[in-house]
Amino acid sequence: MDAILLQILNGLDKGSAYALIALGLTLIFGTLGVVNFAHGALFMIGAFCAVTLSRLLSLSFVTIDETQTDFLGNPLKVETPYVEAWFGPETGAAIIDWSVPLAILFSIPIMALVGLFMERGLIKYFYKRPHADQILVTFGLAIVLQEIIKYFFGANPIPTPAPDAFAGSLDFGAMIGMDPNVIIYPYWRIVYFLFAAGIIGAVFAFLQFTTFGMVVRAGMADRQTVGLLGINIDKRFTFMFALAAVVAGLAGVMYAPINSPNYHMGMDFLVLSFVVVVVGGMGSLPGAVLAGFLLGILESFASMAQVVALLPGINQIIIYLVAIVILLTRPRGLMGRKGVMES
Amino acid sequence: MDILRVEDVNKSFGGLRALNNVNFSVEEGTVHAIIGPNGAGKSTFLNCLIGRLIPDTGSVMFGDISLTGMKPYEINQVGVSRVFQTPEIFGDLTLMENIMIPALAKRDGEFQLHAFKNVASDAEICDKAMHMLEDVGLAEKRDSIAGSLSRGDKRRLELAMCLSQDPKLLLLDEPTAGMSRADTNNTIDLLKRIGDRGITKVVIEHDMHVVFSLAEKVSVLAQGAIIAEGKPEDIKGDPRVQEAYLGGAHL
């Protein structure tokens, strides 16, 4: 029982990452009709926003300490971050400690700009091109982006811890009257889940309750008609692309403490998030969210030792298996409209 | 003798009853027109005939073959061809190829793995395609890409594609929609000419000029049901038809 509860928690957590990426992916597909293989790279860039900010905050000046030596026997160079010098050691250390949450603010303008440049500089020329061309050019872009990141940050994962306040974990079991230590869950993962839920809610509310959102939703349903109404849909779509980039980027920022960011983390998520989008239904926002959580939970269950003992290797293929079954029985996905992308 | 007999066909989409107990038959060798206002269910009806839609109830008999439940290509293989309202052609292929494909389908059946034959050296099919193109006056464009044709030419091409299969029954969905008067007349002439080959035709048409020039019998479809049937001149005066068209002045 508690094992199952824990796996559901795991699944929700993993699912919220899938859902956030898939949400942006399907937003871009639904509004712009573009299959964006570079979306995973946006997630990765988000994570590296966190890395960059923490590096910026730890920028240091060097003093030479004659009393100590480094590994070569030379006098030790002691690095002191500027923020510690400016705000005093304690406040400075706290600022560095909180670099991941601070990176949320830092990443929003950056991701919006990245999204803007991508859409205006490249994607907009591909609206009318075949999906294969879109896939190819965005795939090329994804490679270029990740190689640039690799050039500056290296291939090794870079630890980017959450603030100390979120270290440790919450004893869920004890809260609901079970034995202590049976169901514990890290604070940061709970934060991640809540954050994801908040972002998803905000995107939905935005689309639901603003005029802008209404136009975009109308555009998703029927682009030509909205265009005929004299509404400049292109500008709004550019905004949507930037928004999708910000959502992916925020997902990345907050993910950085969970898994140390590395340059290929986007590619690792790319295929999965496509499967999520297709299972949810191409162009369906609620579908993407639902499928994200569903696949996250299924994946968690499939990794249980008892399940693997029964079906060896199931943890490796469960997502694909689900995708195949869904596509064969319900080709439009869980919540998709009929006929989308069926060429 | 009836070549096509439709009995009690019903078709609903959600709550909308598109076809309501339709009974309909076509006599072999005749031209039968179906008219009706927009949304009367004409295209749905045709779609039920060619297997694009499956009727909820009722039967469609072609000669003594039941078409209900057959796949579109099977229906075509027994001799039913259709010209669509917006021309359905192979836009990326040349005109010759557009005709050769149906001709091959007619000769070789629904699937044939001719991976090593050279299509250009198949004299029978090439000749046939060439003749068809000449028939519809597109011979000089034989090597053009079909997608680049004008709308009128596309219609003629699609007609030629269907004719190259020597169908027993040809279904035409508004063959002159959107054409100029001159083009329309050309098409009427063309359809009359092919009438000589003894192909039974069912025409859905808006343009009464076309209907009265071609049809030997007319059925009127309104709100999913056949409300009148008879010779063109009888239909002209039928008050129910007048009403269905809500003062359709051109009657």
Partner: protein
């Protein structure tokens, strides 16, 4: 960064005889066994070309970059430039700093991409196009085994780089291949006594194992050696290589009554699984009245860096560490540090030493002929290259030397000071008979000079 300014001439003089414009057709020698006629890619000019095949793209690119740095340093030292590094501490004095056998050392580089296929393609191009006489490098066992087999077939020497799976010198051993790195068995054998001292004899271990070959051999080695001292293995679970979030594998550990978690993971897998395990508070847990502990059998400094704070206090084993205080290690750290500004990783040490050992073997054999080199390396005992007295065993071409048991440092003084040496396990304690069950099957075959 130091750059060696040398025009790059492949096999320049080798073909000199044909330079007059005369056309001659000659059969090459890839397969026939006529040994006395020479051997594949015999250097006949004034230079000799070595092939450095390291991961330059993919997740191990940083490790590959460090390997390449070490190789370049080794080439410098072999050619008599720089401070000579370990040449002065090496017990064999055959190398004189004038290249190998008087020929200047040149090198070509390639990208293994950490894929068997790509690594073989890259090695082949070095052998076929650039005339490399020896191939070395790599950062995974799959690649090592695949390239080793290729070198055996082609008839060049392979010095294996980073490869920790038992199979490289076990069931997949080859006569033309040598491994300086330690292996899964040695990790288990070195760790077990230390773990017993630190955590006691009555422990219940839970293994998470990367679902591929290296994971299997490491799990087996650690399991067998810990069980031998009384530990119980509660559960072993295989995790997909592609996994990034290990929460679904970590939480069941909480549910079991295990009090030790063994992470048979390497690279990104290890960084993520360890980070996740620490996040889930495993280390703050008390089970069976004992502190819950985590063990990472194979450590590397680069991975430790990726895992950050999470490695603190966690035991593992490593091949070599820059804080070793023997003369050889000190000389190497100094010369590497001066060149590049930071201390070398174990990958750098392994590859540097292998380049030197190959060169030394050629000198001692008096030939580049792979069969001569194999003879010179088999059973070779030496000292002064770090890790104390070292033996290249003839039976399986595995290197036997001291193994380091390390632990994540609590108070690192720099970005490189992440591990502290807990114990230097003497070679005798990690030595096993060549027919040990974990290494069963396979045969060296005979050396192939490719000619």
């Amino acid at each position: 960064m130091s750059l060696i300014r040398k025009p790059f001439n492949r096999r320049s003089i080798l073909r000199a005889g044909a330079l007059g414009g005369t056309a001659l057709a000659m059969p090459t020698v890839f397969s026939s066994r006529a040994w006395s006629q020479g051997y594949l890619n015999e250097p006949t000019g004034s230079t000799v070309t070595l092939g450095f095949n390291v991961p330059q793209t993919g997740p191990y690119a940083d490790e590959g970059a460090d390997e390449l740095r070490a190789y370049q340093l080794a080439v410098k030292h072999l050619n008599g430039e720089g401070d000579g590094g370990m040449l002065s501490t090496f017990s064999s004095k055959a190398l004189k700093g004038n290249g190998i056998l008087g020929k200047k050392v040149e090198y070509v580089t390639g990208d293994t991409q950490t894929k068997s296929d790509a690594a073989r393609a890259s090695a082949k191009s070095m052998i076929e196009k650039d005339g490399a006489i020896m191939i070395t490098g790599g950062s995974s066992s799959g690649v090592a085994v695949a390239v080793q087999a290729l070198c055996q077939e082609a008839g060049v020497i392979f010095m294996a780089g980073l490869t920790h799976s038992n199979d490289t010198t076990g069931k997949d051993k080859k006569a033309n291949g040598f491994r300086h790195f330690f292996n899964s068995y040695m990790s288990g054998a070195a760790l077990a006594p230390v773990l017993k001292n630190a955590y006691g004899e009555d422990r219940k271990a839970y293994h998470l194992t990367a679902d591929y070959n290296w994971g299997y051999t490491t799990e087996q080695a650690v399991r067998e050696s810990t069980e031998a001292l009384g530990w119980e293995t509660v559960e072993t679970v295989k995790t997909p290589l592609a996994a990034t979030d290990f929460s679904a594998y970590i939480t069941p550990v909480l549910q079991s009554d295990a009090d030790v978690l063994v992470l048979n993971h390497y690279g990104g897998n290890m960084v993520n699984s360890l980070t996740n395990a620490v996040q889930f508070g495993l280390r703050d847990k008390q089970v069976n009245g004992k502190n819950f502990e985590i063990i990472v059998p194979l450590y590397s400094r680069l991975m430790a860096k990726g895992a950050g704070e999470n490695v603190k206090g966690i035991f593992g084993s490593t091949n070599w560490h820059w804080s070793l205080q023997d003369e050889g290690s000190k000389a190497f750290v100094k010369s590497f540090g001066q060149e590049y500004g930071f201390p070398p990783s174990q990958a750098a040490h392994t590859t540097y030493v292998q380049a030197l050992l190959y060169a030394d073997a050629c000198e001692r054999a008096g030939t580049f002929n792979p069969c001569g080199v194999v003879e010179a390396l088999e059973g070779f005992e030496f000292d002064g290259l770090g890790n104390g007295k070292t033996l290249y065993r003839a039976e399986d071409h595995q290197c036997f030397k001291d193994v380091l048991v390390v632990k994540g440092k609590e108070n690192p003084s720099s970005a490189f000071d992440l591990l502290e040496i807990v114990e230097v396990t003497p070679a005798a304690q990690v030595t096993y008979p060549p027919d040990h069950p974990q290494f069963a099957g396979g045969a060296l075959g005979t050396c192939n000079p490719g000619a």
